[in-house]
């Protein structure tokens, strides 16, 4: 069997990739996908612990998280569409009014 910490380390890697993806890319869509990657990494960790502790609760939580991710994706993309209508671009650097 694969030891637990391998899964955790993999989850950590995936999470880091997601974080970097959010910060480094200028495309709003790609940033959003980074967020999804992060969520998935968390799901993976949850599944691993659930298996290790032999409790189903982890898997139920993963189920709910994914539902939430769906809702969040829908709203987020709607926001991106609204932004696009105003600025004609999905360049994250064009959203610079959050000051003063």
């Amino acid at each position: 069997m694969v030891p637990l910490d391998y899964y955790i380390i993999l989850s950590a890697f995936l999470f880091a990739v997601g974080v970097v993806g959010v910060i480094v890319s200028r495309n709003l869509i790609v940033m959003f996908m980074g967020v999804e990657i992060m969520l998935n990494a968390a799901n993976l960790a949850l599944m691993a612990f659930s298996r290790h502790l032999k409790l189903m609760d982890g898997q139920v939580l993963v189920f709910l998280v994914m539902t939430l991710a769906a809702a969040e994706a829908a709203v987020g993309l709607a926001i991106i569409i609204a932004v696009f209508r105003g600025r004609e671009s999905v360049n994250a650097d064009h959203l610079n009014l959050m000051k003063w």
Partner: protein, 161 residues
């Protein structure tokens, strides 16, 4: 074990490709590949229902939604011009790596082997048992949340509002 390694590498590589390719459609497709690999990992962890759920909902609904949006907004290689925040890239990588190091450092010592589990673990009835008894409130609330999400999405994207 071999299965784990292969699936892990694919998942990770695909994730990296997601953030590095220029074409946003390609990014979505790479993400789907990564999700598939992760699904394999879920199966290895006796989460049959969740694995299926992942592919169906995440890959089939959410990422398709992404594709819809990309196509609709007609985002191409979209050359964004010179980067106005040049300092972010290096610092982002550095601290991302630091974060990684921290997390790995924490989980290094947890070398535990997992013992066997009965076959009913992770099956649909098992999930359902828990979902409709212990976690019925979160379940119902989630449905309301989805309702809110739908209304919000419609409001946000409607023209002229």
């Amino acid at each position: 074990m071999l299965l784990f390694v292969v699936a892990a590498i694919i998942a990770l590589a695909a994730a990296v490709m997601v953030i590095t390719v220029r074409n946003p459609v390609a990014s979505v497709l790479y993400l789907i590949i990564s999700l598939l690999a992760q699904s394999v990992l879920y199966i290895q962890l006796s989460g049959l229902f969740v694995a299926a759920f992942l592919v169906l909902i995440y890959g089939g609904a959410i990422l398709v939604l992404f594709l819809f949006v990309i196509m609709m907004l007609n985002i191409r290689y979209a050359d964004f011009g010179p980067d106005m925040l040049k300092a972010v890239k290096p610092w982002g990588w550095i601290f991302g790596l630091v974060l990684l190091a921290e997390m790995v450092w924490v989980s290094m010592g947890v070398s535990t082997r997992m013992s066997a589990v009965d076959p009913a673990f992770g099956s649909v009835p098992a999930v359902a048992m828990l979902l409709y008894t212990k976690y019925v409130y979160p379940f119902e609330l989630t449905s309301i949340l989805l309702l809110a999400a739908i209304v919000g999405a419609v409001v946000m994207a409607k023209r002229g509002m």
